[in-house]
């Protein structure tokens, strides 16, 4: 069968089970947008390519499937770069399809030409420039395979205009042949045995759970491991929801703004079992003083993560699902023989810390609205299936801290790259992928303004979600750092409460705009917002600009020096001690 390269593209996308793609057409990608009309792929017309990229990410986070973004050459591809970098850092499987100037024009500085494979090489797992229409199907097949397997990540496929226009004979490869790509899936059993031995010997073990557990669909195995071994669990920012927050073994989020008990448990642990986590600087604080007495079992599908930051006593390369299941079996067998170790002193210690140092804030009835209160009330009005999306900053930390998660894939955020503007388009993608679920973007006012144009997409494409803006009139986290580490010398952080008027902006985009300024207004506004299901809703929570995010481990400091609240702040005497980002 003769097909054009563009027809081959959509037949290949259908072959990969793609039901939705987010994108914007333009000159070089035009030939692809013609067969799109007849294809089985729903195209969501975004308002900015960055929005399309984050929407593809949100879709992938929420569904576990590969998200697809389409853009034209030059500026179209360049606008995808932030989303690709974000997906690379957070291991999100997306495939970006970009148009390119015709092959004879490549390298000639043609109109809307950019070397997008060159530009995106460091921010993709892999990328392709296709030069023959006969290679379109095979390349799409390989792109999806690379994106979704192993450690997932973004893949870009660049398609010159003539490759889309010219004809080829359709053929769909039975299998993918990538001799240099063989991810290690099965964990080494000898290493699993060593890990089980360490767990049985440990008096103060902690399961350090990262995003890889959710990517590997290993949350059931993880639950078994924790409960069979009586192992307390910390869930990183990437792993919120991998283990239920309400469970007695759950200590919450570790790291720079982590829960005191989670941070301190890792510091005092004699064994950390890291599952799909990468010892990121936001978790470890000063690496030299991180968990100084802990032995390390490190389970990850990416061998390069093992030993990168912290030496592992027992490294296990493999898929978290496979390795965790093996570890559960081995641990069960050994515990059946030798009994379950008595960990009650450790569990009692953790319970005591939890009671002494809960997350806290003060919402005075007559005082300004606290962001934590708004988020807690949102949670109280929502069920455990609700998908929460955040960008980066104070609002993200508060959302992670104060939302009680029950299930995996209910939390979506920009972790590694810390991308402002992530939440609104990612919520759009999540809502498109999970149309029967409630999606709430908890966003900052600074973040919201970077990508709010996708509210138009939400309205025209009928993909509704709720955006709760934690409006504190500032680039709040930057302000917090200036307050704490730059002697309250505020520099370029004030945004204003009422420019833009978020209620009017929402209405202009065809969404419902609501506002709460006082604590007693919060419940009514949330109830009203959640009663709307045919349109998007934007809630402008005008919050206390002075509220800071605690606990906090200052950048570069040891996790032992965690500050649990404003009363714990010490004046910074020596400027040389000032932390670096």
């Amino acid at each position: 069968m003769k097909v054009s390269g563009a027809q081959a593209l959509f037949k290949a996308l259908e072959g990969e089970g793609v039901d939705i793609a987010f994108g914007i057409p333009g000159g070089a990608i035009l030939p692809a947008y013609d067969p799109l009309i007849e294809s089985g792929v729903r195209h969501v017309l975004c308002r900015h390519e960055q929005g399309a990229g984050h929407a593809a990410e949100g879709y992938a986070w929420a569904t576990g499937k590969v998200g697809v973004a389409i853009a034209t050459s030059g500026p179209g591809g360049c606008n995808l770069v932030t989303a690709l970098a974000d997906a690379k850092m957070d291991s999100v499987p997306i495939v970006a399809i970009t148009g390119q100037v015709p092959t004879p024009a490549v390298g000639n500085d043609a109109f809307q030409e950019a070397d997008i494979t060159g530009i995106t090489m460091p921010v993709t797992k892999h990328n392709f420039l296709v030069t023959d229409p006969g290679e379109v199907a095979e390349t799409i097949r390989e792109a999806f395979h690379i994106a979704r397997t192993g450690r997932p990540g973004p893949v870009l496929v660049d398609l010159p205009k003539d490759v889309l226009v010219n004809e080829t004979t359709w053929s769909w490869p039975d299998q993918v042949d990538l001799p240099g790509y063989r991810p290690t899936i099965k964990g080494n059993m000898r290493q699993v045995v060593e890990a089980a031995k360490l767990i049985l010997e440990a008096k103060r073990p902690v399961l350090y759970v990262g995003g890889g557990v959710i990517k590997a669909e290993a949350t059931e195995e993880l639950y078994e491991l924790a409960t069979v071994g009586h192992l307390p669990v910390v869930t990183t920012l990437m792993a919120r929801g991998a283990f239920p927050d309400a469970h007695e073994l759950c200590l919450g989020m570790p790291g720079m703004h982590g829960v005191y008990t989670a941070v301190t448990a890792m510091q005092k642990a004699d064994l950390l079992v890291a599952v799909g986590a990468r010892f990121d600087d936001r978790v470890t604080g000063k690496l030299a003083t991180f968990a100084p007495n802990a032995k390390i079992v490190h389970i990850d599908i990416d061998p390069a993560e093992i030993g990168k930051n912290r030496r592992a006593d027992v490294p296990i390369v493999g898929d978290c699902k496979d390795v965790t299941a093996k570890l559960v079996a081995e641990l069960t067998r050994r515990q059946d023989e030798a009994g379950i170790p008595d960990r009650s002193p450790w569990l009692e210690q953790l319970a005591a810390w939890r009671a002494e140092q809960p997350l806290r804030y003060d919402q005075e009835p007559d005082g300004p609205l606290k962001p934590q209160y708004a988020i807690e009330r949102l949670r109280a009005h929502s069920d455990g299936d609700t998908i929460v999306v955040a960008g980066v900053g104070q609002h993200q930390m508060w959302a992670s801290q104060f939302w009680s998660f029950e299930k995996p894939r209910t939390w979506i955020n920009s972790g590694g790259l810390g991308t402002m503007g992530f939440a609104v388009p990612a919520a759009l993608g999540a809502a498109a992928g999970q149309p029967d679920r409630r999606v709430i973007a908890i966003d900052g006012d600074g973040c919201f303004q970077m990508t709010s144009q996708e509210l138009a997409t939400s309205t025209t494409e009928k993909i509704p979600f709720v955006t709760a803006i934690i409006n504190n009139a500032y680039l709040g986290m930057v302000r917090q750092w200036q307050e704490l580490f730059y002697e309250e010398r505020y520099s370029q952080v004030y945004l204003s409460y009422d420019v833009p008027d978020y209620v009017k902006l929402a209405e202009a985009y065809g969404a419902v705009g609501l506002r709460a300024e006082r604590p007693e207004e919060v419940d009514a506004v949330i109830e009203k917002a959640l009663s709307v299901d045919d349109r998007s809703v934007v809630i402008d929570f005008r919050c206390d600009a002075n509220e800071m995010c605690f606990p906090m481990v200052p950048a570069g400091a040891s996790n032992d020096d965690i500050i649990t609240g404003p009363e714990g702040l010490q004046p910074q005497d020596d400027p040389a001690e000032a932390p670096i980002a």
Binding site: L178, G180, R182, G187, N188, Q191, P303, V317
Partner: protein
């Protein structure tokens, strides 16, 4: 910090050199030399990379290289376990007395004179990097007009090839399952 020689078997595809070189610069590692060319197998190229890093960083280098989709296999050459060679061309000032002395040095080193002008001699030398270094040092006394070196290439000693299973010390994932199918690439 020390010099390490690694052989990297890659698919002969556009952009592979950029991917490998970009990985080194992005992770902050310095390449001392890099030589690339075709191999015994069609579609495969072989890069010999000499890198100046600590052993721990070398582990990261090889693991990150392994993650590149077009990288098939990586081999770290332990000192003394490989035949390492390099080619050098040096255009040396050689007038009067110097002419005979340059030719004498070439003879001692068993290297060839491949171009002659009234004022210069061009020396072609191949051998171990240390030998070339010694030669360069001696020739520099006369004044070197220009010099070009290929960078090091290497093959492991013994009867096995890099593409064969087992036998060679292949940079591989610690803790990975010992699987006969394991060829070493990709994450």
């Amino acid at each position: 910090m020390s010099l390490h020689t690694i052989s990297v078997l890659v698919e002969d595809k556009p952009g592979v050199l950029t991917r490998v070189a970009g990985l080194f610069s992005a992770r902050g590692y310095n390449i001392d030399s890099l030589a690339v060319g075709p191999t015994e197998a069609e579609g495969l190229s072989r890069m010999t990379i000499v890198v100046h890093v600590e052993s721990k960083s070398l582990e990261q280098v090889t693991k990150q290289l392994n993650k590149l989709i077009n990288v098939i296999k990586i081999l770290e050459h332990e000192p003394g376990t490989a035949v390492e060679r390099e080619l050098m061309l040096a255009k040396v000032r050689a007038k009067g007395d110097a002419r005979a002395r340059v030719m004498e040095i070439a003879e001692v080193f068993r290297v060839s004179i491949v171009d002659v002008t009234k004022t210069t001699l061009t020396v072609e030398a191949s051998g171990k990097p240390e030998k070339l270094e010694a030669l360069r040092e001696l020739l520099s006394e006369f004044g070197i007009v220009e010099l070009s070196r290929t960078g090091r290439i290497a093959l492991a000693r013994g009867d096995r090839g890099i593409r064969e299973k087992g036998g060679l010390r292949v940079a591989r994932a610690v803790g990975a399952e010992d699987s006969p199918e394991w060829t070493g690439g990709g994450v």
